[in-house]
């Protein structure tokens, strides 16, 4: 792919950088997905979220997803950015942008990009809510010894 942009950042995500990174005269459609932290999760009042990354591998894994997208769909460019550290409620924790000649590929590939990022990129979220904190994930709720 001629253009690609994969970053882990401690500062607020600037979506204009992603859009600029995927901009290309060959692109007729660009999709931008922005994930922002919510103030509620499973009935808890969330005060802030904190993300930790295995940064070197996270960037490599984003690159791998971008290469995978380019093999599956005729896209022009892919950009992915994930924020780490404390992310206050309402701010972006992740953004994915895909440009393609036509909107169909741009939508499908962007959806695939964020879904795959969530499943494979080594980044972890800790939720600080009113009355406690915990790492978000499928297994932790069942690991009673964690509370010891």
């Amino acid at each position: 792919m001629p253009n690609s942009f994969y970053r882990v950042t401690e500062t607020p995500i600037d979506t204009t950088l992603l859009l600029a990174a995927v901009g290309d005269p060959a692109a007729g459609g660009t999709t931008l997905f922005v994930g922002t932290t919510r103030d509620e999760n499973e009935g808890r009042v969330v005060e802030r979220l904190e993300y930790e990354a295995y940064e070197a591998m996270a960037v490599r894994e984003m690159q791998r997803i971008g290469d995978d997208i380019a093999r599956r769909w005729p896209v022009v460019a892919v950009a992915m950015v994930h924020r780490v550290g404390v992310v206050p409620v309402g701010e972006a924790s992740v953004a994915v942008a895909v440009s393609a000649a036509h909107r169909e590929e741009a939508f499908v590939a962007c959806r695939y990009g964020i879904d795959t990022l969530k499943a494979t990129v080594p980044i972890w979220k800790k939720e600080y809510y009113r009355g406690g904190e915990h790492w978000v994930g499928p297994c932790y709720a069942h690991d009673a010894s964690l509370r010891g």
Binding site: A53, Y54, A56, P122, W124, K125, K126, G137, D143
Partner: protein, 80 residues
């Protein structure tokens, strides 16, 4: 041989360190390193996490080499 081990997120908090070096026999694989780690750190969970060697996901049978970077990858939860 010596392997560098990285701990992240809840595993980092449980063990209390980000990084360690362990000695494993030549010809050791990831599963051998995991056994050595659980013997050394009793706060590691019984169930193995995912593993990455030199920043690529691998299975437990993956062979290790001197100075490899072995990362213990608890279930990821990036995104929103």
């Amino acid at each position: 041989m010596t392997v560098r081990v990285l701990f992240f997120a809840y595993l980092r908090e449980r063990v209390g360190i980000r990084e360690a070096r362990i000695d494993v026999p030549d010809e050791a694989c990831v599963a051998d390193a995991w056994r050595a780690l659980t013997a050394r750190y009793d706060r590691l969970p019984a169930e193995a996490p995912r593993f990455a060697v030199n920043q690529v996901y691998v299975d437990k049978g993956h062979p290790l080499h001197e100075n490899d970077e072995l990362a213990l990858i608890p279930p990821v939860s990036g995104g929103i």
